[in-house]
């Protein structure tokens, strides 16, 4: 189920049984590409003392619109309130939230090891096959492997490489794709639609040339 914050949807059931169990939620935020917006979004979490487990931000498939994927461990009730606060920001177009079961998600990991050690002591082929990894770079002094998957999958290769002197390890934030969505593209059309604003008093002084623009 896609939990949008669209006002037509009331996700919560009864007043009493609020979603009280904490679990991982994937929050997807579509935004304008605007300086300072990351800060505005981050403040919404820090104000409530909520730790962000993973944060990914990058351009989306739509020109000039960015997509954030934020992972937190919280109850649905808290997540929904956070999402409403995020969606309230002027430069935020849309916010969705999902449990892990409702998204396909991946993290990418890079592992740097000494080429000498690894060539001498490990059956590299087997290691790569069994861990779904691939070698990104092989240089005289070091080799970089890459795996992609859930946390446990990227974790297991660390354990294997550790005894052979893992030099450096890095893991990306989570990226997640919503299983059951119509996609954001359709929603965007609604945002592009012009709606009338309030009347503004016309500037009676503009274009009176000299009268105004004399300094």
């Amino acid at each position: 189920m896609t939990n949008t914050l669209n006002e037509d949807k009331k996700v919560l059931p009864a007043r009493e049984d609020l979603g009280g169990v904490k679990q991982e939620f994937n929050i997807t935020v579509y935004t304008e590409n605007q300086i300072g917006l990351l800060n505005r979004i981050a403040i919404i979490f820090t104000r409530r003392k909520i730790n962000i487990d993973s944060l990914n931000t990058s351009p989306s498939e739509v020109d000039s619109i960015h997509r954030f994927t934020i992972v937190i461990n919280e109850t649905e009730d808290v997540v929904r309130k956070l999402c409403r606060q995020i969606e309230k920001q002027v430069e935020v177009l849309k916010v969705y939230y999902h449990t892990n079961a409702d998204v396909i998600w991946q993290e990418m990991a890079l592992y740097k090891v000494s080429t000498n050690v690894i060539a001498e002591q490990v059956s590299v082929e087997r290691l790569l096959r069994e861990n779904g990894a691939r070698a990104v770079v092989i240089r005289k002094d070091y080799t970089v492997f890459e795996t992609t998957g859930h946390r446990e999958e990227t974790e297991s290769l660390i354990k294997i490489l550790q005894p052979y002197g893992l030099i450096e390890f890095v893991r990306s934030a989570r990226v997640a794709i919503i299983k059951n969505s119509e996609g954001f593209n359709a929603k965007l059309r609604e945002f592009e639609r012009l709606e009338p604003g309030e009347e503004v008093i016309e500037n009676e002084y503009l274009n009176q040339g000299q009268k105004v623009f004399t300094m």
Binding site: L18, G36, K81, R193, L194, G209
Partner: protein
């Protein structure tokens, strides 16, 4: 109601362009937005704007305040009485940081403001240059939107956005930080195009008929419906729509301190004030009603008391323009997203005409009880010393409820809001959500500029007055006509009340000494008087109101008086204490 798709032709741009500086473009934009008054304080980083302002004397009235906090509170007062966007200027660094309290206040009370701050040259940003502060980051949590301009070409569009964001949807403060180079830079100004659409911004949620119908059905079945209204009614200019709704459905209605005045105090369905120092009936009966209808209010903890014991028996209908407010504190049965100016008439159409006579009588019974236990004594004391309440009572008698009442924060604020009579909307200016002491004096100045044909009376404590008393200088210089009543109890009264009730009278640093206020006022050329004797009170208030110009009236009131009723913190609203 689905809003129909509408084609809006793009506003025609002016053909000829004029080469102007960023500063001139800014002032032109302000005029185009209907700004007539600016509250501000100059400094190095905003000098080009002030230089341009020199030539705009006839079109823009600039009020030189004595402190930027005073400037922004004045902007708030102006916005609250006029319904327009308040405009404030400040320089970089300390000028900008002095705005923070006012921004936080305006943010939580949904007051539309556009604040312009000067900033160091763009090439100096991030170098700890003289008077450089990261104003954008400091003000992010306390603004609806903020933006830093580094190129003059951006100014017309950014100012248009700023006004649109400040006043549309749920209003709020916007801050635009303009680097000095952008203020000086010349560019081709093509004319001002107001903003009425931002792709990522939905000021109003779409109104759903289904929820209006569900809400109407609940109201029609209700035996004991109860309306709570807040400032949303006033911000949405929905006073008429609101009155029509409660009158048709015959529902007793109570207000938050920011909502007061949307309907007259004497309206038969107006049953009083909600919350910590609200009225007895509305608080107790919140836990007895069967359908609770919240309109343009946000269930602040000062209103709800303990949430887990708040109106548990009731079905809740919440009308609000801000989707984030719905279900935030109190879980709703039926959410009505939308501007109450649009949703209320839809609801009125569907509700049955009723008079909940018996239910309304219950409120009146509680009022009677409260009058006997508290109100009568407070308004007509038999003690030698005067009470805050009797000052407000006499003021009501003299103004007939026509005045704009501005209150500061503390006991006098609660007394002022509880007892002041209001006949007109946009008459109550107070710092509700933030509770900012020092708010009232500058806010009253702004309120008068925003409502020049109305009397403006500020009611201030001896503590709060001393937080921004330098704004007497602004009164002196502008000749603005505000009436100031200092209710002097020689204590930080509200804190003392808490210490008395909850800290075994350990009066820790609440005993505050004051200067001779009348002499201070006189130093600023402002007339004044101090009264200590009941016999002089009416005459003194009359003198104040009839005085041609500002007047400071100090009234010495009982030292250790308490504001009751009271819902102690952490208690349920039905545990409200009468003494």
């Amino acid at each position: 109601m689905e809003v129909a798709q509408q084609e809006i032709p793009a506003p025609a741009k002016t053909k000829e362009t004029v080469e102007v500086s960023g500063s001139v473009a800014l002032l032109e934009a302000l005029i185009a937005e209907g700004t007539d008054t600016i509250f501000g304080y100059p400094g190095g980083a905003i000098m080009p704007i002030y230089d341009a302002l020199y030539d705009y004397n006839e079109k823009l009235n600039h009020v030189l305040v004595r402190h930027e906090q005073g400037g922004i509170h004045a902007g708030q007062g102006y916005a609250r009485t006029s319904g327009k966007v308040g405009v404030v200027f400040a320089t970089s660094g300390p000028g900008a940081t002095n705005l923070v309290t006012g921004l936080a206040d305006a943010q939580i009370d949904s007051t539309p403001l556009v604040c312009i701050t000067g900033q160091v040259f763009a090439h100096l940003l991030g170098t700890d240059a003289f008077q450089e502060t990261d104003v954008i980051n400091i003000t992010t949590p306390v603004t609806k939107w903020n933006y830093q301009v580094t190129d003059a070409n951006e100014i017309p569009e950014v100012i248009a956005k700023a006004f649109y964001i400040a006043r549309s949807g749920r209003p709020g403060p916007v801050l635009i930080d303009i680097t000095k180079n952008a203020q000086i830079q010349k560019f081709n100004f093509e004319g001002y195009v107001p903003c009425n659409h931002i792709r990522s911004y939905r000021p109003k949620p779409i109104v759903r008929k289904q929820y209006i119908e569900e809400a109407a059905a609940l109201i029609n079945q209700a035996k004991k419906p109860f309306v709570l209204w807040g400032q949303g009614v006033i911000l949405g200019s929905a006073e008429q729509e609101f009155k029509a709704f409660i009158e048709k459905a015959g529902i007793p209605s109570a207000w938050t301190i920011l909502g007061v005045g949307a309907i007259p105090t004497d309206h038969p369905l107006n049953v009083g004030m909600l919350g910590m120092h609200g009225n007895y009936g509305p608080n107790v009966l919140t836990n007895e009603c069967d359908v609770l209808i919240a309109i343009g209010m946000r269930f602040d903890d000062r209103v709800t008391g303990r949430l887990d014991k708040y109106a548990k028996q009731a079905k809740v209908i919440h009308l609000d323009i801000d989707p984030a407010e719905i279900d935030k504190n109190v879980q709703t049965t039926v959410p009505v997203w939308g501007d109450c100016k649009e949703t209320l008439p839809l609801l009125t159409e569907l509700v049955e005409a009723k008079a909940h006579t018996e239910w309304l009588a219950k409120f009146n019974d509680f009022t009677q009880k409260e009058v006997e236990a508290v109100i009568h004594k407070e308004l007509n004391p038999d003690t030698e010393e005067m009470t805050m309440g009797e000052v407000v009572r006499v003021l009501n008698e003299l103004t007939g409820g026509d005045a704009v009442i501005v209150t500061d924060v503390g006991q006098h604020q609660m007394v002022g809001c509880r007892y002041a009579k209001f006949n007109k909307t946009r008459s109550n200016v107070t710092s509700g959500g933030l509770g900012t002491m020092g708010f009232a004096l500058p806010a009253a100045i702004g309120a008068k500029f925003g409502a020049q044909d109305r009397p403006v009376v500020a009611i201030i404590g001896d503590g709060g007055f001393q937080m921004t008393l330098q704004e007497l200088g602004t009164i002196m210089q502008t000749g603005v006509n505000v009436k100031i009543i200092i209710l002097n109890n020689r204590f930080l009264g509200m804190v003392r009340q808490w210490q008395e009730l909850f800290n075994e009278r350990r009066y820790s640093f609440v005993d505050i000494q004051s200067p001779d206020f009348v002499r201070v006022a006189s130093g600023y050329g402002i007339a004044g008087k101090s009264v200590n004797d009941r016999a002089e009170l009416t005459a003194a208030l009359e003198q104040m109101l009839n005085h041609n110009g500002s007047f400071l009236l100090e009234v010495m009131v009982t030292k250790e008086n308490n504001v009751f009723p009271m819902v102690p913190q952490g208690c349920s609203v039905s545990e409200i204490r009468l003494k």
